[in-house]
């Protein structure tokens, strides 16, 4: 029997997808037990004092720092030719990059408040959707 082949490159193995799910699903980062500095993604050692961090679930509330627009069509995104991305400063401090949904690039601006939602990022190696955080303008 002929095996089906596709032009699908390896994007994330199932082990990596499983290992990173807490960060993708709930913005689980870390907080230093000594100096209370936050980090996202979670840090093994605190970047400020080299202390030992503990897991911390961020609120998902944040603010747009700056914006960019991705013009590379990504599989599984309904043929959208361009999607807005932003650097987002979480309320607790760490800054991360994420896609902004339910808005076009022209409607967004720095300093807008945003909130986290869970959406599909891309297909895993097996074809399953890889879910993760995106953001939208806060209601």
């Amino acid at each position: 029997m002929t095996q089906m082949t596709t032009a699908r490159p390896v994007v994330a193995g199932p082990a990596r997808a499983w290992r990173t799910r807490a960060a993708r699903y709930a913005l689980t980062g870390s907080r230093c037990r000594q100096c209370h500095a936050y980090a996202f993604p979670p840090a093994r050692r605190c970047a400020q004092c080299d202390g030992a961090p503990e897991p911390h679930v961020f609120s998902g509330q944040g603010r747009i720092v700056c914006l960019a627009e991705d013009h590379s069509p990504l599989a599984g995104h309904g043929g959208r030719s361009r999607r807005p991305f932003a650097m987002i400063a979480l309320k607790e401090g760490p800054v991360l990059m994420a896609e902004i949904v339910d808005a076009e690039y022209e409607e967004l601006s720095p300093d807008q408040d945003v909130e986290m939602v869970i959406r599909k990022w891309r297909p895993e190696q097996s074809g399953l959707p890889l879910y993760g955080f995106k953001f939208r303008v806060a209601s």
Binding site: T6, A7, R8, P9, V11, R21, Y25, A26, V57, G60, S72, P73, L74, A75, G76, H77, G78, G79, R80, V101, D102, M116, V117, I118, R119, K120, W121, R122, P123, G127, P129, Y131, K134, S139
Partner: protein, 348 residues
């Protein structure tokens, strides 16, 4: 003796995309948009499904790890045929791994079926709290040109059920079910089908089963039970009115839970969204009814006594978060053409 139980809190989520029913009518000229009573229906984004909708509603409840003992995920449009959507959601909401999780399926009454099971679960003392989801993305399974395409939307409701601090205390349940092929989706078929006018339009399914469940509920409550509001399944914008007429219910009692005219058919989320709206602004001691219908066919009727009104702000926010789009954009977003999964030249 089982413990008193009820709904502690509820939260609603729906996609921002909207498609005007008159646009669908203009493309296919197959049915009357005005007759549906639905002005606009929700359009699901390409990066969303019932699990992401349920996660959005669930996050609105602000659940703490270790406080919920079970998840009952009611949907007929799970992206998986065998994998548990409830288990994925439990992990997304930080409730895993020490939790009982299961998917519940009975057409568009999957949400109320999940609610009935969760109430039985907490009343039996298996855990103090359980999470119920009623979610559907019917828009992904409406055939182009089918009348369902005009009304089929997407939405999710999460309800936290428990034994303490309840907002709506469960009182009684009446249910009906029998074999009737008035709506179904076969394995391997992308599209929902109705049994045609002979079955779907005859009332043998919806009116007969809903009437039976409502009578059974009335018998359990006693003859003099009066309702202050009733949340009814809304496959279209006029369904609640039709049910009220058939069951001789005051139409004013069902009008407060209207979601279909602005969001379309939310499937399993429909009766629960109507319930959330019906529980807002209620007086303590008032009685609120819930009446669902699932093709195939079956109906659940439940009654609740208000102990504290709920805030339906999540429904209003979802309605306000509206992005109108044309038919072509909606079809592309929902991926309703069979396309290459991984076309060359596309980044992954």
């Amino acid at each position: 003796m089982s413990r008193p139980a009820g709904i502690i809190d509820m939260c609603f989520a729906a996609p921002a995309g909207r498609l005007a029913t008159k646009d669908v009518e203009a493309i296919w000229q197959s049915a009357s948009a005005a007759r549906t009573g639905v002005r606009e229906r929700t359009v699901l984004d390409a990066d969303a499904d019932v699990i992401t909708l349920a996660a959005e509603a669930g996050r609105g409840l602000g659940l703490l790890p270790g406080t919920v003992g079970a998840v009952f995920f009611g949907t007929q449009t799970s992206p998986y045929l065998s994998r548990s959507a409830a288990a994925i959601l439990a992990d997304m909401l930080g409730l895993a791994p020490e939790i009982f999780a299961t998917d519940v399926q009975f057409s568009t009454k999957s949400g109320t079926a999940a609610l009935a099971q969760a109430i039985a679960w907490v009343k039996a003392g298996l855990s103090d709290r359980a999470l119920v989801i009623g979610a559907d993305a019917l828009c992904l399974h409406a055939a182009p040109g089918d009348p369902l395409e005009m009304t089929a939307g997407a939405g999710a409701v999460c309800a936290l059920v428990g034994t303490g601090n309840v907002a709506a205390r469960f009182e009684a349940l009446g249910s009906t079910a029998s074999d009737l092929a008035d709506g179904f989706r076969l394995q391997g078929d992308d599209y929902l089908r109705t049994g045609g006018a002979g079955l779907a339009g005859s009332g043998l399914g919806d009116m007969r089963h809903m009437g039976g469940a409502w009578t059974a509920l009335g018998d359990r409550l006693g003859g003099d039970a009066r309702f202050d509001a009733i949340a009814v399944q809304q496959p279209d914008g006029r369904a609640a009115e039709r049910v009220a007429k058939a069951l001789k219910i005051d139409p004013a009692l069902v009008s407060g839970g209207a979601v279909a005219p602005l969001l379309g058919d939310l499937g399993s989320a429909s009766p629960l969204a109507a319930l959330l709206l019906s529980l807002e602004g209620r007086q303590v001691g008032e009685r609120v009814g819930l009446l669902s219908y699932g093709a195939g066919a079956g109906s659940d009727a439940m009654s609740f006594i208000v102990e504290r009104p709920l805030d339906a702000g999540s429904v209003r926010r979802a309605i306000a978060r509206r992005r109108l789009m044309d038919y072509a954009t909606a079809v592309r977003r929902e991926g309703r053409y069979r396309m290459h999964q991984h076309p060359l030249g596309v980044f992954e």
